[in-house]
């Protein structure tokens, strides 16, 4: 058993995976999670893309694995200060927690884009306009109903809400919304086969294993209709439906459609914790994400010795990519810990 201690800030997939590997190699880990339960964003998911794996089961595996004697799990604690003191790292929370460690892994993850910032889409103003997160919550309940309590006959998904968008300051792509949207559209059609599902996109970025096949399945087996075009405005009609204006760029014609429910595929932004703690340590990068030392060979280290990064605090990543990222970070941390006295 090593006397070295690693502090992990963030109990989502990245933090959980890294904690497990570090503990297996006999390092001491203290893991902080601001929520009352670990698991991060996948707590809200029903199924994961692309294989529709049971999200609760995956999450349970991740969380159960870290029940180990050398992992201290501290939930319900939000770290608001991260500072280097000599060759030690110190974290503090606002309820007077103070903990020291030999190394820190920042795994503070992401937050979803606030759709109210796209006021032309009417989120928070009109009924029946929800985010992808809210849609997934409804899937967990097993039914999707309009605010009037009806089954939607027609639903539209809009990609790239708050991503690839100069107006909101987020030029980047959030990586997962394309495949997630296809997953949600298929989930909807599974529940309501006779309803229509439309998906408005700029590009279909099906860049992972099985993603392209999922896209094909969504068209061929489930009859999801894909329209290449942005939605310029969403307005409520007299009977609480949503009128959308778009252009079908492939047909080269303006397009109008009234739907019962509009789902906004909101992008990933840096979380408040990431912005705060990265800012305190001069590693705040573009868009407020945490910046690693180098994309190609040093993606887990930062310019501060002993401060490491894993997961979506760096950039939008899928669940599988986050897990891989955390494992690699764990190895880097172990190398570091072996090298210091």
């Amino acid at each position: 058993m090593s006397e070295k201690k690693i502090i992990i800030i963030g109990g989502g997939p990245a933090g959980l995976e890294a904690a497990y590997h570090l503990a297996r190699q006999n390092y001491n880990v203290v893991l902080f999670e601001k929520d009352s339960e670990t698991g991060g964003h996948i707590k809200k998911d029903l199924r994961l893309f692309p294989d529709f794996a049971d999200a609760s089961q995956v999450r349970k595996e991740l969380s159960d694995r870290i029940i180990q004697p050398n992992i201290e799990i501290k939930t319900g604690i939000c770290i608001n200060e991260l500072v280097q003191e000599g060759n030690q790292w110190c974290v503090k929370s606002d309820n007077n927690t103070v903990v020291y460690g030999d190394a820190v892994l920042l795994a503070t993850g992401f937050e979803t884009f606030d759709a109210r910032r796209k006021e032309e889409l009417g989120y928070g103003i009109y009924n029946n306009i929800i985010t992808s997160v809210e849609f997934e919550e409804k899937l967990k309940e097993g039914k999707i109903l309009t605010t009037e309590g009806n089954t939607p006959q027609r639903i539209a998904f809009l990609n790239c809400v708050g991503s690839r968008d100069e107006k909101t300051g987020n030029h980047y792509c959030s990586r997962v919304c394309c495949v997630n949207g296809v997953k949600l559209a298929i989930s909807f059609k599974e529940l309501y086969p006779s309803s229509e599902a439309y998906l408005f996109y700029i590009d279909m970025r099906m860049n992972g294993q099985q993603y392209e096949e999922l896209y094909r399945t969504s068209q061929q087996k489930y009859g999801v209709t894909f329209i290449r075009g942005r939605i310029s405005e969403a307005a409520a009609t007299f009977d609480h439906k949503i009128q959308l204006k778009s252009e079908d760029t492939l047909a080269g014609l303006p397009l109008k459609i009234t739907v019962d429910l509009l789902v906004l595929m909101v992008g990933m932004e840096s979380s408040l914790s990431t912005k705060l703690l990265a800012g305190q340590n001069d590693i705040r990068g573009n868009y407020g994400f945490a910046e690693s030392l180098g994309l190609n060979r040093s993606d887990y280290r930062t310019k501060k010795e002993g401060l490491f990064l894993a997961g979506t605090c760096k950039r939008p990543l899928s669940f599988q990519e986050t897990i891989a990222d955390a494992g690699a970070a764990a190895v880097q941390i172990m190398d570091y810990l072996k090298s210091i006295k």
Partner: protein, 104 residues
């Protein structure tokens, strides 16, 4: 304007029934890029296909008549859509509607 509240998108189901692979089309344009007729005219099979899907039948029958049925589109489709069958069935469905004096 494509008004999806009024356009007849149900007619496309007849195409899908005859040619199930039509649903795989992602409108990449490989077909119209390879098309013989596109070398000489503005004809675009991809565009005809999407207009049919969206229920925009104005002038579509006469456009579809330009196809030479050479099958080059079939050779290049990355999704494996039976493009020749798609265009033939579109022509047949529209001809049928015309014969039965159904205005689209």
């Amino acid at each position: 304007m494509i008004d999806l509240d009024r356009a007849d998108t149900i007619l496309y189901a007849q195409i899908v029934e005859k040619v199930p692979s039509a649903l795989k089309c992602i409108m990449c344009g490989a077909c119209s890029a390879a098309c013989t007729v596109s070398n000489h005219t503005d004809f675009s099979f991809r565009q005809c296909h999407i207009l049919f899907r969206r229920g925009q039948f104005n002038n579509l029958a006469s456009e579809l008549d330009k196809c030479m049925l050479c099958g080059k589109c079939n050779l290049v489709c990355p999704q494996g859509v039976n493009t020749r069958a798609v265009i033939s069935s579109m022509r047949l469905v529209l001809l049928d509607m015309n014969n039965r004096n159904i205005t689209l």
